[in-house]
């Protein structure tokens, strides 16, 4: 790697992580049976939706962190999603199918904050699918735990 390249690399990285640019950065991409076949959501788009809070235990942390974010069904409604299954994809290409019913049956949120701190790709962000695990005993099950997608980047509706 040349010196030039290294400099460029560092500059781009800095620009990407700067918060000013983050507002317009695409956080979530919805594809499949949505408006126009593809909907891209930025932080601003999510800010426009109603925000919710869930305090719940998780399988990978201690205690009951407070998660803040928007309801998954609100996101899907905004994209006019029509389908039975949502295929969630994470940054690391973790892929799992989630029945659409989950989002209507439970107040599942796309969390952007944990205990008031913004989630980042270096943790489990930018978006973490969080189920109200402590409110419904049925959710304390590996079959649901697998649907808590960290570092959510895309949703495919079918």
């Amino acid at each position: 790697m040349t010196v030039m390249k290294r400099l460029l690399f560092g500059t781009v990285m800095l620009a990407l992580s700067a918060s000013g640019a983050a507002a317009e950065e695409v956080l979530l991409t919805l594809t499949g049976a949505v408006t126009g076949g593809q909907v891209e959501l930025t932080q601003t788009d999510l800010d426009a939706l109603e925000w919710h809070e869930i305090a719940t235990s998780t399988t990978v942390t201690d205690g009951q962190p407070v998660f803040r974010g928007v309801l998954m069904r609100d996101i899907l409604d905004r994209a006019q999603a029509r389908g039975d299954t949502v295929t969630a994809r994470a940054l690391n290409d973790y892929v799992i199918d989630i029945p659409m019913d989950d989002f209507h049956e439970f107040d599942v949120i796309a969390a952007l904050y944990m205990d008031g701190i913004a989630l980042t790709p270096r943790d489990k962000g930018p978006v973490w699918i969080v189920y109200p695990r402590d409110d419904h005993s049925v959710l304390a099950d590996i079959r649901y735990d697998m649907r808590w997608v960290w570092q959510l980047s895309a949703l495919h509706v079918q």
Binding site: V12, M13, T59, V60, L91, T120, I142
Partner: protein, 438 residues
């Protein structure tokens, strides 16, 4: 069973019940604990988490080696950091610490953060660090897996132990429950046997009483024979003896007088046997009354005439006819019986009233005498077979008259009662189903 024994039996039963319920509670508690532990937790998937960390290290290493875009490198870097952060979180960190694998891991993370490409970290140094990290992770991966299987096996062991405990408790409860059931069944059988014994004793007592009554009846019957049969026979014997005595032959007057006496004695005997025969027929249900509407005044009048008792008996009819639904023959028999008693037990110069009347929807006929009446004790057993008032042992009578009369009254749906008359004497009241003539 003595009281101490009963006390111990109850204590034993109580202990069995407590043991049975206690064991069931233990079993239920264990089953609940098993149910709670029968969950797979995502935390337990440490092999996967650790594997993911390794993959991200390799991916970053490969991105740094190739001509990947800076954004791709940054993404891979972020993902590797996020996996190391995940390993640092509560449950995962505890797992690694317990497995002795946590040492140095955070050193690798700190080193990685110092070479952050977003802040101009040296890519070459970063690549070297990541390569070394991936080697270190590879060495630990198998240990993580073995630790994970060990943890899972221990969990299964715990579950098996709980399961076994629950099973033992249930078996214990089963055994104590069976013992309880055996004891209760045994108890029930004893109670049943006691009840059967009691019933048998009661039946024996009843049989004994009946036997006593029967033997009392035989005794009275023997008494009756002794007094009531023997007396007329003696009278006849004496008359025959007088007629056949040697010496002067009896005059025609004497013969007639003795014949009269003998005939009266024979009549008494016949009446006695008639009564006894009728009683026997009534007893075995061979008498069927022919019920119809009859004028009670007329039946009473005929009965009085048949007695040929002269003016001592007065029929005092009311101002309207008394019609009864009855069998006239049986009713006459009853009235003749009552009148005979009244004549026998009252002074020869006293009057006897016969009063047919209505009371409610029953037709009555009262026979009132002015004799000495009956004591309460005599009234109490007046209707027993062969019962004779102690004061009247020597008067003719079978002791069957009143019982027979009451039987006949009841056969016709009526009854016969006795009560003392005010001013002395007795009122015998025959009641029969009445029919008001309009």
């Amino acid at each position: 069973m003595n009281r101490l024994g009963a006390h111990w039996r109850y204590a034993g039963l109580g202990a069995l019940i407590v043991v049975c319920l206690g064991l069931l509670v233990v079993a239920a508690a264990n089953i609940i604990r098993i149910e709670r532990q029968m969950q797979i937790s995502a935390t337990q998937n440490m092999t996967w988490i650790f594997g993911q960390t390794q993959i991200e290290a390799l991916s970053l290493s490969s991105a740094l080696s190739s001509d990947a875009s800076s954004s791709e490198v940054l993404l891979r870097y972020d993902l590797l950091v996020s996996r190391l952060n995940l390993l640092r979180d509560g449950p995962q960190w505890r797992f690694l610490s317990e497995a002795g694998l946590a040492d140095g891991l955070m050193g690798w993370r700190d080193g990685l953060l110092r070479l952050d490409p977003a802040y101009g970290g040296d890519p070459a140094a970063l690549k070297a660090h990541v390569t070394a990290l991936s080697t270190a992770l590879r060495q630990k991966a198998s240990q993580v897996m073995s630790r994970e299987w060990q943890v899972q096996s221990e969990r299964l062991d715990r579950l098996r132990k709980l399961h076994l405990l629950a099973l033992v408790a249930i078996m214990g409860a089963l055994i104590s429950g069976a013992a309880l059931a055996v004891l209760l069944v045994d108890r029930e059988r004893r109670l049943m046997r006691a009840r059967v014994d009691r019933l048998r004793a009661e039946r024996l007592q009843r049989d004994l009483n009946r036997e006593r009554a029967a033997s009392e009846g035989y005794r009275r019957f023997a008494d009756l024979i002794a007094h009531q049969v023997r007396t007329p026979l003696a009278v006849i014997d004496s008359a025959m003896h007088r007629l056949t005595r040697s010496g002067k032959p009896p005059t025609p007057e004497v013969i007639r007088a003795k014949a009269d006496v003998s005939r009266q004695a024979v009549a008494r005997l016949i009446r006695l046997t008639d009564t006894a025969l009728l009683m026997a027929r009534v007893d075995r249900g061979a008498v069927a009354p022919e019920l119809a509407c009859h004028d009670l005044d007329r039946i009473a009048a005929t009965a009085i005439e048949d007695l040929q008792a002269g003016r001592r008996v007065t029929l005092r009819s009311g101002n309207r006819p008394v019609t009864a639904i009855c069998d006239p023959v049986l009713t006459s028999e009853i009235l003749a019986n009552l009148l005979g008693n009244a004549l026998l037990y009252s002074p020869p110069d006293s009057e006897i009233d016969v009063r047919p009347l209505f009371s409610g929807d029953m037709a009555m006929c009262d026979v009132c005498d002015q004799g000495s009446g009956m004591t309460p004790e005599e009234l109490a057993c007046a209707f027993d077979n062969f019962a004779r008032g102690a004061r009247h042992r020597d008067l003719p009578g079978s002791g069957l008259g009143l019982p027979l009369a009451r039987h006949l009254a009841r056969l016709q749906g009526g009854d016969l009662t006795l009560k003392p008359r005010e001013g002395g004497g007795l009122i015998a009241r025959l009641s029969l189903p009445g029919k008001v003539v309009t």
